[in-house]
């Protein structure tokens, strides 16, 4: 060992450690760390790698269920879809990189999550993205939107994994700190499941893929601090992606698994070599001697710490199956990929780094993987309480319901995302049965079976802002509802928790409450959490002013269709179909898009959420779709019943005539009936002969069902019962123009 320098404690923050954490390192090591060790601890104990602020909360999430093949703790979760097949899925954020370098930030976000999926032994087959930007009137937001979309397209299209769905939310709170969450799904046979482990003593570790450079240095620490003007100087912390390398790595790894040449595998993601080897060793309960001289370098003169923490993209660490080492090496040569033996598994339980044969760092693997945990005090911000408790009666009813509808259709969160998804190859791999924009969730068939896999990403961040627990539960409920509306049975959740700085009591309150909300909804709907990602410090600091994003626990959910030929989409398909509103959810203007876009406020309590009613309406809709009685369904969410029906009309290219149930006891009852948002409500369209089937099924399950009207002509005609002043009568063409205009031209 080199001499241990004293005085490192004073510069603990340079390694991303507090002095208390530095003292903890000393305690765990039984001595002072040297600079290399302090740097590795700092990276692995960062929030991004170590989840030190969130882990005590995340433990409260339900992770078990009959469909779970792999829960949290691996590169991705895996659920069983039947017939011996499983789906690996996970979502991750690339928020800070995208804020300073949107194209590469988003592109490498796609690359990273794809590697997590194929590290599980699965072939990636779908990507969805959940994006949040400031108002599109802002040049910066348009720049970020264009760049992020270009980045996702450039990477996903080239690797050849379709981008099949997603969501875009727009709110000024995301102006400086956009949110870029990417979810990927992969298909595997149960027997192909791989794990991130070094296996047994004597196993050799093979580094494959791109060389290691200084790009992405300190990325994990960068992601674990507030954004500021100075973040621009962190541009070198953003990595550069090479989708061609990724595609070659993907094919080579899948072939290596198929030939049983691999005993363990992991992506080198945040904190690169350090985190991948430390985690693989920890899962096996072993130590590793890592030969840093053997690590392929892109540039000369890198220090040991730089080599360990580099976040150069497109690198994987494989544990060779003993006795198959030469075959493994030959396979990577066949794909034109560089590979190098960098480590040997030992029984000393340490991560030992060797340079020139000397040990330059020796750290207990367990200590690296068990950062201190913080349970903080949360306290709700007064400003949020005031916004939630605001009396909504002060807002007058809208003058012109048709005008209000057109305003909502043009609101970015609701508007057509077609200009976005046209940039993505959504059909490569020839599995996409339900294309982007056609339904509440994407659906992919599984070749060689009758199965379908559905996926969605959802979060109404305004709901979470105004009521974190209720809002987060809504995100889960909506995701499950979206899957149910295509006919898929929800199986599992991956969550991406995007919050501000957890040392702020207001933010910690949001985080802890949101986790409780996710827990309650996942338990009620039978959708365990199989993995996820935590992204804290999503706030922008300028002088004394801190601008935190709305708390955004994005929910990614995967479901299965036992027979993909029985599915539903949202567009009306035949004139004369009967429109029925199923479910008991009570609409409300609290936290609604109408209040936001028409009255300009984010206020009130989000709609009530009865999880039992939610489960009931979802179940009956799935049953109707599976039974063939229903091929058209859409959930009532942002913008309420009027927007739901308008989307069904616009997507189907035909009109409808309907009357909405009147709301009693409300001052602005008409607006609540038209634009009030809710949980547990789904509109279906069925041929007249099947109306009885629907009503009978609803009666059996105790789900209320109301006849709204029918598809007809080319105009959208909606009226609230007993309220002539509510009548909306607009040409579908006019609605389409408003709905489409927002994103046309917003992309550079």
């Amino acid at each position: 060992m080199p001499d241990l320098k004293t005085g490192l404690r004073d510069s603990a923050s340079a390694f991303g450690l507090t002095t208390a954490e530095f003292d903890e390192v000393v305690l765990r090591l039984g001595r002072e760390p040297n600079a290399v060790e302090a740097g590795v601890f700092g990276a692995l104990w960062s929030e991004h790698c170590g989840y030190k602020n969130s882990r005590p909360l995340l433990r409260q999430l339900p992770t078990q269920g009959p469909a779970v093949l792999q829960g949290p703790g691996e590169n991705a979760g895996v659920v069983d879809i039947g017939e011996g097949l499983g789906v690996a899925f996970k979502m991750e954020s690339h928020n800070h990189p995208s804020a300073v370098e949107p194209v590469q930030g988003a592109a490498t976000g796609v690359g990273g999550i794809l590697r997590d999926i194929f590290a599980m032994g699965a072939r990636p087959f779908a990507v969805l993205d959940s994006l949040r930007f400031g108002e599109l009137t802002s040049p910066r937001s348009r720049h970020l939107l264009s760049g992020v979309v270009a980045g996702i397209a450039s990477y996903g299209n080239a690797v050849g994994v379709p981008t099949v769905g997603g969501e875009v939310e727009v709110n000024a709170c995301f102006e400086e700190n956009p949110l870029v969450n990417v979810m990927a799904l992969g298909l595997l046979r149960h027997s192909d499941l791989q794990r991130g482990t070094v296996g047994e003593v004597g196993n050799r570790l093979l580094y494959v893929g791109s060389r290691t450079g200084r790009d992405g240095l300190g990325g994990a620490v960068f992601a674990s601090a507030d954004l500021s003007v100075a973040s621009e100087a962190d541009r070198p912390a953003v990595q550069v992606g090479d989708p061609f390398m990724e595609k070659s790595l993907l094919e080579a790894c899948l072939e290596a698994y198929a030939r049983d040449l691999v005993a363990g595998v992991q992506d080198m993601g945040a904190a690169g070599l350090a985190s991948s080897v430390a985690e693989m060793a920890h899962r096996a309960g072993k130590g590793v001697d890592l030969d840093l001289d053997a690590v392929p370098r892109r540039e000369a003169g890198m220090t040991p710490l730089e080599v360990m923490l580099s976040e150069s993209q497109e690198r994987m660490m494989l544990t060779a199956r003993p006795g198959r080492e030469e075959e493994l090496l030959a396979l990577f040569a066949h794909y034109g990929l560089e590979a190098a033996w960098v480590g040997v598994v030992r029984d000393h339980g340490e991560l030992r780094l060797l340079v020139g044969g000397d040990v330059v760092a020796a750290m207990p693997v367990a200590a690296l993987n068990q950062p201190p945990e913080y349970v903080r005090e949360g306290r709700e911000d007064d400003i949020v309480v005031a916004a939630r408790q605001r009396d909504l009666a002060e807002f007058p009813a809208v003058d012109d319901p048709a005008g209000a509808l057109l305003t909502l259709l043009a609101a970015p969160t609701i508007a057509s995302k077609e200009p976005v998804y046209r940039r993505y190859d959504h059909q490569v791999m020839t599995n996409t049965v339900v294309l982007p924009g056609a339904a509440d969730a994407a659906v992919m068939r599984v070749k060689g079976t009758g199965l379908g896999v559905a996926a969605t990403v959802d979060c109404n961040s305004r709901y979470v802002y105004l009521s974190p627990r209720l809002g987060a539960a809504h995100a889960v409920a909506e995701a499950a509802r979206n899957l149910s509306c295509v006919g898929a049975e929800p199986l599992g959740v991956t969550d991406n928790l995007n919050f501000g700085n957890p040392t702020d009591p207001g933010v910690y309150h949001q985080l802890s409450e949101a986790v409780q909300g996710i827990r309650e909804a996942c338990l009620a709907l039978g959708t365990p959490v199989t993995g996820g990602n935590v992204s804290l410090y999503n706030q922008y600091v300028e002088g004394d002013v801190t601008r935190a994003v709305h708390p955004t626990p994005t929910i990614g959910m995967v479901g299965v269709l036992r027979d993909v030929s029985h599915r539903a989409t949202q567009g009306l398909k035949r004139r004369g179909d009967v429109l029925l509103l199923l479910g008991a959810g009570a609409p409300s203007l609290g936290a609604s898009e109408l209040l936001f876009r028409h009255h300009g406020v984010e206020a009130g309590t989000p709609p009530e959420l009865d999880l039992r009613a939610e489960a009931a309406v979802q179940r009956v809709v799935r049953r109707l779709i599976a039974g063939g009685a229903c091929d058209t369904a859409h959930d009532v969410s942002t913008g309420g019943l009027a927007v739901c029906l308008a989307e069904m009309a616009m997507t189907g290219g035909m009109g409808l005539t309907a009357s909405a149930p009147a709301m009693t006891g409300h001052e602005a009852g008409r607006d609540v009936a038209l634009f009030g948002e809710s949980s547990a409500r789904i509109v279906v369209a069925v041929v007249p002969e099947d109306v009885k089937t629907v009503l009978d099924a609803c009666r059996e399950d105790g789900v209320p069902a109301i006849r709204l009207g029918a598809s007809a002509g080319d105009r959208f005609r909606l009226v609230v019962q007993g309220r002539e002043d509510s009548a909306i009568d607009v040409a579908v063409e006019e609605m389409l123009a408003a709905w489409r205009a927002t994103f046309e031209g917003a992309l550079g």
Partner: protein, 239 residues
Amino acid sequence: MRPTTNKGIAVVSFPGSNCDDDARHALQSVLGAPVRMVWHDETDLSGYLAVVLPGGFSFGDYLRGGALAAQSPVMAAVRDFARGGGPVLGICNGFQVLTEAGLLPGQLARNTSLGFVCRDVHLKVERSAAPFTTRTQVGTVLRLPVAHGEGAYFAADETLDRLEGEGLVAFRYCDASGAVVPEANVNGAARSIAGIVNARGNVMGMMPHPERAVEPLLGYGDGNLVLGSLLDQVMAAAA
């Protein structure tokens, strides 16, 4: 064409190809044709019934779409195969490879929108002939998906005149009624050209993806008219 031994249809995989398995699936699993995947270092394609160069991003499409793949060892074999009269179909990136390799005239330039575009297009069939379009008539309108960033066909005017004069334009972008109008020209291609054949007619390149359009479950059927035409020819020849 008289194959000495029937090896089936060769689908060539370059590093970075990502529609190779889609082509295999369409030809083999859906249409029932014998298919073998051929790695880009193969130097002999004799005995195959046809060669398909699939879509994707061969070698990352660094430099230019298809430019690096055109230098692969397999392309010499593709050239020999075409010279012997064997059918060669290049789809999307495969079309780019064929122009870069000089097997077809012209080039595929960046879309005039400058962005990648994934959507359905309509194609007007301009040539009904063996081996690629016998199941269609001149004027038949097909609906197929496109997915590309560099798909604008481009060539010198005299080349375009020759292609048109000799009936070598296979498809043009059109509207749903079959009218070749500027609004339907998805990528700004010269004279709305979506696909061409060589002078002998046995090498075709097209930007749209017929292999994505052979299954009703995915919402398409017109890919059968192209791939089915090819199979009609080669399976008859092999029989």
